[in-house]
Subunit: 404 residues, 4 copies
């Protein structure tokens, strides 16, 4: 029986607090590139393991290090001089002992991982030439024997927690959160890229709300080959700004929204890139240093430090509990009388993952609302999701649930 606690949180709801800071690192940000690769590698390994072994074997590929390259962006089209170096590391079951044949069998971890990483990069960095701009290296190693053991037991039924760790989630998104999140989605959407191909994938959105005023500070890479002059560069910025302002009207009605794109630009220095990401010019990245599992960085909200991307979706608490906490928070927040919901789930190493040491639900309620009415429903939601972990896992593997 899970230890589920529902409590009233006696604090000012986020929307009523005077200040709020929200950040999202876009798909082409060096840290997000690493997150995306890590998650792609994990998903590809899951598929390979299932195909070859009938079950998902132990792995955690939540370690990707991106070492920035060197580029000479130039209006009209520059070039890269040193490639970006990407090191895949982490652990994966690379060999198993076929006890019947008394043989060691090696699994294609290295080739599958390199392939997944390169395929992901092709999708996310449209303007890069992977034959010269990026080196993908791999030092993924075999996992510890003991961890494989913990994993083995799981085949029967419910996996056991890999660690003493926790996940954190909240809901609903505030207006600022929604706006920051959707702004990046918009600027990295296929539609916008068709209209404004010069907009690179490295987009960082920083939202500051002061009362009813929201300032969106956007760092947006511009791809050099599509702009032949500073005028054209500025035009791209203007058009992108207009798109975001349009979005803001929909999502932040009633707020004054100021959109600032590439504020550091001056005569000597504009955010011009060859392939659309600052990784081309000395910006490094790694997994788990950017967006949380909900896609945002929110210093006015509780967060977990765990890197969600790349961890195995079977028994890694740092992945499953973070995703679960967000899902549960989302459903609880939809209950009548709930204004905001915060969920934290703490595991105990070696215990079944559907039996957390504590699943803590905090709710800010409507004034007229009694916790007693909410508590049983919230518990039911939590219990249902703890029972549904396998379904969540499948959605992760299929990419239906995003991790960053």
């Amino acid at each position: 029986m899970a230890n589920i606690v529902v409590k009233k949180l006696d604090t000012t709801p986020i929307e009523e607090r005077p200040t709020e800071i929200v950040e999202r690192k876009g798909l082409g940000h060096p840290d997000s590139i690493c997150d995306g690769i890590a998650e792609s590698v994990s998903a590809a390994l899951c598929k390979m393991y299932k195909e070859k072994m009938g079950t998902i074997l132990h792995h955690n590929t939540d370690q990707v290090e991106l070492v920035g390259g060197h580029a000479y962006p130039k209006l009209g089209g520059g070039n890269m001089v040193s490639p970006i170096y990407i090191l895949l590391s982490g652990r994966a079951t690379m060999e198993i002992l076929d006890k019947e044949k008394n043989e060691i069998i090696k699994l294609p971890v290295g080739t599958v991982a390199v392939n997944a990483a390169r395929n992901y990069l092709k999708k996310v960095l449209r303007n890069a030439d992977l034959e010269k701009d990026v080196v993908v290296d791999c030092r993924i190693g075999q996992g510890s024997v003991d961890l494989m053991d913990v994993f083995d037991r799981k085949k029967t039924d419910i996996p056991l927690a890999n660690d003493t760790s926790f996940g954190v989630g909240h809901a609903p998104f505030s207006v600022t959160e929604k706006l920051v999140f959707e702004t990046e989605k918009l600027l990295n959407s296929d539609e916008l890229k068709k209209e404004l191909p010069a907009v690179g994938e490295d987009i960082k959105v920083m939202g500051l709300r002061e009362g009813k005023k929201i300032t969106l500070t956007i760092a947006m890479a511009v791809v050099d080959r599509y702009v032949n002059s500073v005028e054209e560069y500025n035009e791209v910025k203007e058009k992108a700004k207009a798109k975001v302002e349009e979005l803001a009207k929909k999502l932040a009605d009633g707020y004054e929204v100021e959109v600032c794109i590439n504020t550091a630009d001056d005569d000597n220095c504009i955010f011009l890139t060859v392939i659309g990401t600052s990784a081309e010019m000395g910006d490094d990245g790694s997994v788990g240093r950017g967006n949380r599992a909900n896609g945002l960085i929110t210093p006015f909200r509780p967060m977990s430090m765990e890197a969600t991307s790349g961890k195995n979706p079977i028994n890694h608490i740092g992945k499953i509990y973070n995703i679960l906490a967000n899902i549960i928070a989302h459903d609880v927040a939809e209950l009548d009388g709930v204004k905001e919901c915060y969920v934290r789930i703490l595991s105990q190493i070696g215990k079944p993952i559907n039996e957390p040491k504590i699943l803590d639900i905090e709710v800010i309620t409507e004034d007229n609302c009694d916790l007693k009415d909410i508590e049983p429903k919230a518990k039911e939601i939590a219990e249902r999701w703890l029972d549904n972990i396998p379904e969540v896992r499948n959605k992760i593997i299929n990419g239906e649930i995003k991790t960053f």
Copy 2:
């Protein structure tokens, strides 16, 4: 003039909330090893730059990737079979143009970085043999030209913010926070290592408070050569437990404290290591995924995602503002009438670092206390520290301020 805002936070103080989760990853945890190396490399580069160039040049060495090795721990003494691989990356000014001599001068970034990393490892992993157990590799590259430019301007006076980013801090530590923090310090202290040399450096402390009960779940590596039997292993755990209980009596008077060390141990599997860290056996690590600048991970408190360790102490907001936020919170929390204080500082890229876009101070006050009395004092504290950034910087370089 800095935009400093002081506000009352209308929420239940942490100690009165029913639940609290606090974590600290000890010095020998793979993530902390990376944090420590990153910070050592930055400090060593600062010294080298000062010595050679009279000023600290641009660098950010907050990218260290640790790829776990492979070990066979054994009661009485096992051995490592594959070394730990550590990749130093990040950016540093490696060459400068001597405009008078019309010459490119290379600075000893690579050798200084490798040296700093190896020296740090010797200190922190007492039981490792660096001649065989660890490979330290280096791919630190030259920074972007534009960033160097931002850096240049600073020589005059106040450096300009390198990015639009923020720092977060809070004070005072709750009882659980203090206890978690000091428990790791104790277990990694020279005194304890003398008495219990079998206690490894990889120690993770997870504190869960439920009302007045605190559970400390400790994962503690034991070094195999010092224990010849499971009995001796258990004895080490018992003695360590007694030490922590003793500490808890002092720091958490009035609380029931349960101390659990290596709870996943069973007949087949104990936390035995050759060199005292799980990095020896497939646990990977990277910078900025563990403790925040205050040494803790606190999902019930606001946090920043920024890796503090390894960033340059001159103009990197992700470093300076996180440290500053903690310092300011600490001083404000000592004001009469303040129960708790939360500080967030947001920069604007290209603006002087002592002029943040917003410096947001939230205080939970004593019942009888008026914000009006606190506000001017809090502002004064914040202003004073904004003026004292150079002093903070020096303390960072000298290692007086810890970053993880």
Copy 3:
């Protein structure tokens, strides 16, 4: 004035000696892969330097290390599990000082090198999938300042020798040499691949002549996806053998030629590969350990140890003198009365490359022939080629002269 010496060599011509051993490592042999990459990278850098700087800058990319992958070949089609890792190293001018603009300019050495290597691999390993089977990494560094200086002076006229070193060549090819050389060419020809796609690129031909009998021992990788049974595998071997025997009839008329393909095959072990090279399964390679500049390894002939591939074609003695020695030997061997010719050219570091310390020509003459008649013609040939070094250089860059 070059120090050219022509001497009579008083020894039995190779064809009359009782034994001869000749070896050629084919295009897909790990060592040859490295040679080919090294030479492709050098040629690509030459083109880039010319395009960007109007002249070829200093470089030596004769350092490529191939670390074998791991594969599971299987009749009908297996797969690779760990990619081949290829490290490009060596030196190249990566940055130059634009003294007028007082600026450091970086040249696209890394991206050009990675690109050249990947393009070469695509051509030479038809059955590899470069998106997953091979990792190409690059650690090419800036050359020493002093060497750049030596290089600089050359812009005027004749480059200066980069080292005290020598080149060696001989002509004509013996029957066994011709046969070994052409056998590999045949087995790696487009025509043969069309007819026998199962023949991999990793082909090693070892020729042993004992009197009038030549034994060709051929190690020939077979690509698994094209053969569904051991019978089909053997059929491929038989067909290849027939092709070689046909060739032998043309080239070695009057000799008994025995062709042995994959003699180590037995019931447990055949030379089956996934992508056509032993590099897929743990065979490593590096530059300069395989064929000499004439395409052969000839322990009954004098050889140089210098790696020819990848060295710069401007002033690197190890490249230019080896190629030149072969060319001169070839021309001298065509003189009336000359049976065999051996050429050795020794440089002196810092002297113009057309003024070798010694250019030593040894000839085995027809019985009725006087050295006096040959000497002036041989000298003239040598002098002419010393004058024609720039032409040789261009042929190297265009790939008209092979280096391995």
Copy 4:
């Protein structure tokens, strides 16, 4: 029964030929550093395998790539700015299947290899600080399964040849060969280093004999911290020159010997180094590109291309046959009536190594001497050594036989 052939070679003995070129790359030359590391790693693995498994397991560590660092030598003492990077690769049995326990056991290949390399470097580069000047990385991988199989059979008796390959040797050394060989030994001897600590380990000796005149062109690194001025630098050169001239008097009596040290020196450029090797400043190296198994490069003598260093001493033809060929040549050359001897041994993959396909002995005899008298003795010598291969192997492992 081995196929041993003894033949008369009808050619001018080397001493009577007008020209001769001989080269030796000293211990600190980048290629020799790689050879030395490769051989040290193999020897260390042999010891480890014997200790752990009772027998030497399959390995070939003849792949070491050295990527040069970057240094600023300065009279009185400069410093290195980028470390030398050394990649160990090759193959070694890293894991074995304990069929009784049904367990995979990993062997400490990585740690032993890194340790052996670092220890070797400490010995051979006296002036390097391994804590900062050198990075030793390791990508040694598991060997191919098939090769392990060939190896297995050997446990019974005589190992089987790993490949179709050959070894080459000659004896005796000519005067020029002896002089070149001993000159490097002298300059790298402990005695000389005591007297002239400024003499670095990177010493390349090139000997050119023209008739009775020998020119020794020596490139000799000088270590900067021991010389405070160009005068002191020149003094070191003078003293070293005097030592070599003294040696020449002993070894090359009757020859005119000219000794030239660092002939490329000029006002701008002397061969000054920080740690005594050109590897510090962009000179790369790899295994098997320098000295042959007899310690020399001899373009007037037959040579093998095989890298001897780092190959396993059990069944690798490229190692064993090269060493054996030299030993046999040496013994045959001592027979009465033999002036010179050349030995070539060709293997056949999969056949016992004491049954080469051909062992070819060529002798140049004294005028009055009949081959008939020599043939049976030479055959006996060859047979005896084929029987003594295990003894040779032990000497290799103990380091009594040098490989470069």
